[in-house]
Amino acid sequence: MSAIGGSSTLRHAAFVLRGNLITAIAAAGVAALALVAIFGPALVPFDPVASDVPRALQPPGALHWAGTDQLGRDVFSRLIVATRLDLAIAVTAVCISFVIGAVIGAICGYAGGKLDRAVGRLVDVLMAFPLFVLAMAMVAALGNRVENIVIATAIINLPFYIRFARAEVNIRRNLGWVEAARACGDGHVAVVLRFLLPNVLPGMAVQMSLNLGWAILNAAGLSFIGLGVKPPTPEWGIMVAEGARFISTGRWWLVAFPGLALMLAVLCFNLLGDGLRDILDPRMRT
């Protein structure tokens, strides 16, 4: 206990982690993913884009741990290298929607009135679309590039952040300490930035972790249908798409391993998000 010391939040986090093995494992998993994303490309045994046609479509073995694809490329190396791109897309998209959503939501929740209602309507319209379809259409509209996958993913995540920040700011704006800050002469901007937003951030961090898993699935889905990332770039969704042609002749490893990578990444973020929610707000535990 004493070794951890520090703030009470840290101690509480450590306490929950000790009692909640799954969250600890998920946190370790996310850390491992980050390490793989950073150092993976330097460590892989094979060049992820170098083809070696005589060795095409080999099942997993001692040399090629996850087999080879139709061009003889090493599936394991491609999986590792792809981690960086997949995580980068998801993290960038979620960060963009987090920042923009928090600011818009906080302004609406604080100001209320006409602006709040107008933004609320806009969010309703955005939510009236099946979100994956909306992302598809936006990538088509903006152009078939990776940046646009990030933008589309950010936009379809935006409504959740706006609603969350709006609701959280709205219930706090008339509390005593906000009034006190106003009485001390702080302007509206300062109240929102220095007092309201920091109080909303922890809850939004949970939302971010849960959203990251979803963003990974979304981006992989888009590249699976041929939007955004282009071959031969290693990316999990594209690897599944390329392997799909060989599944009915029994080449399972081309689909199973990228699928497993996607599943593990999403699982880690989801479990971490659930765990973070428990740490921040034990009442919301289900």
Binding site: A128, F129, F132, G237, I247, G250
Partner: protein, 343 residues
């Protein structure tokens, strides 16, 4: 005023309040089309080699030279008459294409939702009854894993398992064998049409084709449905009326099914509505994996060859279905819980 009357009034009011959202959707799709790359006039002219004057003529014909608000008005008028433009890919009006392909998508989505509900509600009830036990944890683990596997991966792995390894499922392409004679289209749902035509063999074949894609989609949505069933059952099992039912010695199944579950089903209906619309989106991936001739794969094919009218029509259709489904959920809610209509 009876319950039905109250429900109708509620549905009407709800419909009116969803109109602004629908209008917003229309404007949004219109704007989306306006920012799409490529000039429709160039597409509709005789070809890339068409002269400048010819393109200008086509532009005038299409009304693209008018101011935006006027174009929007024309677009709204067209959509109101059911004119969604023409697909360059198929050469047919988009509305006709969508009408022909919508039943395939709906058949798939409805069967998947049915499978998911049949699996999820008992799982959720079981988890709530044995809350904290091994069964509860096993169900939770299954659900956590279910939402993490992308549909396109689980679909392909199901194909590997049931088509390649076990030889149990048919070739995973399309709704029927190419050589099958189709039954007269009455409902548009092939399984039902075969049944109506009295062709049992055809019905079985269509069912076997439907099985894998429907299961793939169901797998993805069992988790949220089971979770909400469990949470809502826990609340209702802990309520006073269940305690009373127990204390007067009613049979256990009656307590669970007609007291607890009936009261716990409302949130499940709401989530089922949301899940339905999620599935319409996820359809894109499943239809692609199984070459299912639905609206989503149609829009996707069009998207990849820069044919935008079908994409626009598809997005509009999906958003409208979403609004209608929400309305339906609301009405169902009113029927399941008469108190909701009073408020």
């Amino acid at each position: 005023m009876g319950v039905i009357g109250a429900t109708l009034i509620r549905a009407g009011r709800r419909f009116l309040s969803s109109l602004p959202a629908l209008l917003g959707v229309l404007i949004f799709t219109f704007l989306l089309m306006r920012v799409l790359p490529g000039d429709p006039a160039v597409f509709f002219a005789s070809g890339p080699s068409a002269g400048k004057e010819e393109i200008e003529v086509v532009r005038k014909q299409l009304g693209l030279d008018r101011p935006l608000p006027e174009q929007l008005a024309i677009y709204l008028y067209d959509v109101g008459r059911g004119n969604l433009g023409r697909s360059m890919m198929t050469g047919q009006p988009v509305a006709k294409d969508l009408r022909e392909r919508l039943p395939a998508s709906l058949e798939l989505t409805f069967s998947a939702l049915l499978i998911a509900l049949i699996a999820a509600v008992p799982l959720g009830v079981l988890a709530a009854l044995r809350s904290g036990s091994i069964i509860d944890h096993a169900i939770r683990l299954f659900c956590s894993l279910g939402v993490c596997v992308p549909t396109f991966v689980s679909g392909l792995l199901l194909i590997y398992l049931f088509y390649y390894l076990l030889g149990f499922a048919p070739d995973p392409t399309g709704r029927v064998d190419v050589f099958t004679t189709l039954p007269p289209a009455r409902t548009g749902f092939l399984v039902a049409d075969f049944l109506l035509a009295g062709d049992l063999a055809g019905c079985a074949a269509a069912l076997r084709q439907l099985m894998l894609p429907a299961f793939t989609m169901a797998l993805f949505v069992i988790a949220p449905l089971a979770r909400i069933t469990r949470a809502s059952m826990l609340v209702s099992l802990g309520s006073d009326f269940v305690r009373t039912a127990r204390s007067v010695g009613l049979p256990r199944w009656q307590i669970v099914v007609s007291y607890a579950l009936r009261n716990a089903i409302l949130p499940v209906i709401t989530i089922a509505g949301i899940v339905f619309s999620t599935m319409l989106g996820a359809n894109v991936l499943v239809e692609k994996v199984f070459s299912w001739p639905g609206v989503a794969s149609y829009a996707l094919d069009a998207l990849l060859v820069s044919d935008y009218a079908p994409v626009q029509g598809f997005v509009l259709l999906m958003a409208s279905i979403f609004v209608v489904v929400n309305l339906l959920v609301d009405v169902l809610y009113g029927i399941a819980d008469p108190r909701a209509t009073v408020a």
